[in-house]
Symmetry: C2
Subunit: 441 residues, 2 copies
């Protein structure tokens, strides 16, 4: 300190102090030192950049977000073509045709789908034509098989043709220059079909983020192995979160468990940085003496540990780790806390990485089927089952207690019931906000 | 032939004539020779067997249908444990504690999550305990850090403890023998978490069917390549259907295009039989002279070509092909016909192979925003956009014309408007049935 003080004094106007990179200033807290859920979510999101776009084969780009506006280079159909199997004719040649007194025309050839001829159809003749085949120059209507004798050399036509009948016009579906997809839209089967139809085989999309999931805790055991003492329990968090991230479109690497050992935690995280666009951990971020994630991660990058005004999910950690500043979200270790935190923070981050809007779950109102109590002061997330009646009205029933260790009811839920910090109860029959967990916006 | 005839004669009463296998008798047709959409769908489905179940790692089984009832072998929690960081005590020892006059207990040790001791907690003492750590025998409540001085040798407790406070009881979430999942349920992130929590790492599921998609037609060109003459067009069907099958959970192999050549079609199908649980083709099933799929497939297996009372999608083909009787669905070649046929027939077949219920798209009613005309006599499928207002009321607007070649409007649609054969129009403001294309039941 003394030395530093001297040097600083001597070189005051020439030295540039190397700035240690730091996270942006965190959001404000309430009187109790808690950050709001919305503030924390916004704080994380502002530090996440969309992944760079790359070219992908259209079929492999399904569900991904497109990073370019796509205009059609061609007309669809590309040429006037037949909507029926039949005969292309000059409509004028069929005037007066009727049952018992058909018009007979010479059949001068046949045009299949994909066939093409520069030669115009002479007046007074017909040419056999298949569905999708180009209308020869001069012909102005198609007479379907059904009203002919299906002749080969000559054809007898029993009904006069209307000009233009059964012809699909060039460009009636898509015109060259039409905008087919906009930046930010996601590819689905039907848009992939449309892109193929205009001849596009590759598109620029944001890739699936590589998400590493890691659970910490010496008490955890891999499912499928025996519990060695009665105080051990199976790791469910890393499976729960890996499954959720996969359902949200990520490419997930579930890493084995790490015990409560500072060096092992640091090593495991360091090993994963090279392949991660996002790291998610659970456990070790609370106030306990064994909450080592919180203790060691500041050595590996810029971190932010805080308490969020939500229940469950109060202790939260975030960091930009290593040289590449890989985003890392450190969630609490109780399964329900971890899952609610995933929904509140991780899913929006994954969607931002992928360039998918909206970032958040569909948030709707449902009628509470019974009294739902809430603990005021923190935003409450309760597990719920939403049903929709045939008229489209949604009702919600809370399932399970408030314990953040209760996984069986989490599996039954299809929604989170969300109650603001100033709410202490929702009466039966009153509307309450829910996040729909099985609907992807 | 002569030899065979002789032998047959000699052994007339012992020979068993080998029965040529045939498909079951097809459903009846209407006066116009058309089969109803529902009858044809049922006819296909009765000939499809679910794929055999196999053991899969739980995380890789996401979205798949489970083929066993799963009961828990353990209690959850597996032991009484602490819901807080604090001290495990005998509640009786804290009677009378208050601010300014705390009860002081000797701290006899510390128990971390995963820690375990057979030794009971002596009366008059406390033991430091972390969230999730087992409650020592004898202790009956947990005093959180917040109401103590966080002492190490002795702890001063300022509030009396209630018996049982902050203890999560063994089995309060799941009891050994509880049914966790039933046959037929699908795995999602939250159920995967639950299975992991009870120690299950593998489950029996029906696999993703291997679906081969192949488009026929000499006029077709691969997207990304130049059109060589003005009558060619890009193959969009195989991309559309491959994308749809992938979205529906299949493992899709999109095979290159096959021209209108009988031998090439037979060869391509034969080559795919070995890796296919289902083959889908488009094109070549109508009445045209180049509809070769219909012409050649009876040589490779048992087939059924028919006309269905629906529009689009009238010509349909089905077969059980090769020695293994691989199901094959032969769809018409117009993109919209192919897609509507996929929704009506292929998707339910894929879901039956996977053991997923319900087989059909969610079918709901929506209010038509305008007059929608229908051609009576066949079930009509129109492309529609369904919107849901905040109150949950659905409205539907038809997009695009009736032409089955119009792919741009298909990409905009999120629903099929379904009108029965006896309907000729739906008035603005009236309800109409829709299939929701972006919701997976």
């Amino acid at each position: 300190m003394a030395l530093f003080g001297r040097r600083k004094k001597q070189q005051e106007d020439v030295v540039e102090v190397a700035e240690t990179p730091t996270l942006p200033p965190p959001p404000p807290t309430d009187a109790g030192g808690l950050r709001s859920m919305e503030d924390h979510r916004a704080y994380l999101l502002e530090q996440i950049e969309q992944l760079p776009a790359f070219g992908q084969q259209i079929l492999d780009a399904i569900d991904l977000s497109i990073c370019e506006d796509i205009e059609s280079d061609i007309d669809l159909p590309g040429f006037d073509n037949s909507a029926m199997d039949g005969y292309a004719v000059h409509a004028a040649d069929t005037v007066g045709a009727e049952e018992g007194q058909p018009v007979v025309l010479a059949v001068v050839g046949e045009v299949a789908a994909g066939g093409w001829s520069e030669e115009p159809l002479p007046p007074g003749t017909a040419i056999k034509i298949m569905t999708g085949a180009p209308i020869p120059e001069g012909a102005d209507s198609v007479v379907p098989y059904e009203v002919t004798d299906r002749g080969s050399d000559d054809v007898a036509i029993r009904v006069p043709a209307r000009t233009g009948q059964h012809i699909r016009r060039r460009g009636e579906d898509v015109t060259e220059g039409d905008l087919m997809m906009r930046t930010g839209e996601r590819l689905g089967a039907r848009t992939i079909g449309l892109l193929a139809a205009i001849g596009v085989d590759k598109v620029m999309v944001r890739p699936r983020p590589r998400v590493v999931v890691l659970a910490t805790g010496s008490e955890l055991v891999e499912p499928g192995r025996p519990l060695e003492n009665p105080a051990q329990l199976y790791d469910s968090n890393s499976y729960l979160l890996a499954g959720a991230a996969r359902a949200d479109g990520a490419q997930v690497f579930r890493v084995g468990l790490v015990g409560d050992d500072a060096e092992a935690i640091k090593q495991s995280i360091s090993d994963q940085l090279v392949r991660a666009d996002l790291i998610i951990t659970t456990g070790g971020v609370s106030q306990g003496d064994y909450d080592l994630v919180k203790a060691v991660m500041p050595e590996l990058g810029m971190t932010d540990f805080c308490q969020v005004a939500m229940q469950p999910g109060k202790p939260q950690g975030f960091g930009l780790i290593g040289e590449d500043r890989v985003p890392m979200i450190m969630l609490p270790g109780n399964p329900v806390s971890a899952y609610v935190s995933y929904e509140a923070f991780v899913r929006p981050v994954i969607r931002k990485l992928m360039g998918i809007e909206p970032l958040f779950r569909p948030q709707v109102r449902a009628i509470a089927t019974h009294l739902i109590r809430s603990a005021p002061g923190r935003k409450q997330f309760a597990r719920g089952v939403v049903t929709t009646d045939p008229g489209g009205r949604r009702r919600v029933t809370a399932v399970g207690g408030h314990g953040s260790h209760l996984v069986s009811n989490l599996a039954k839920a299809n929604a989170l019931i969300v109650m603001d910090p100033d709410v202490d109860q929702v009466a039966a029959g009153s509307p309450v906000t829910v996040w729909l967990l099985d609907e992807n916006g």
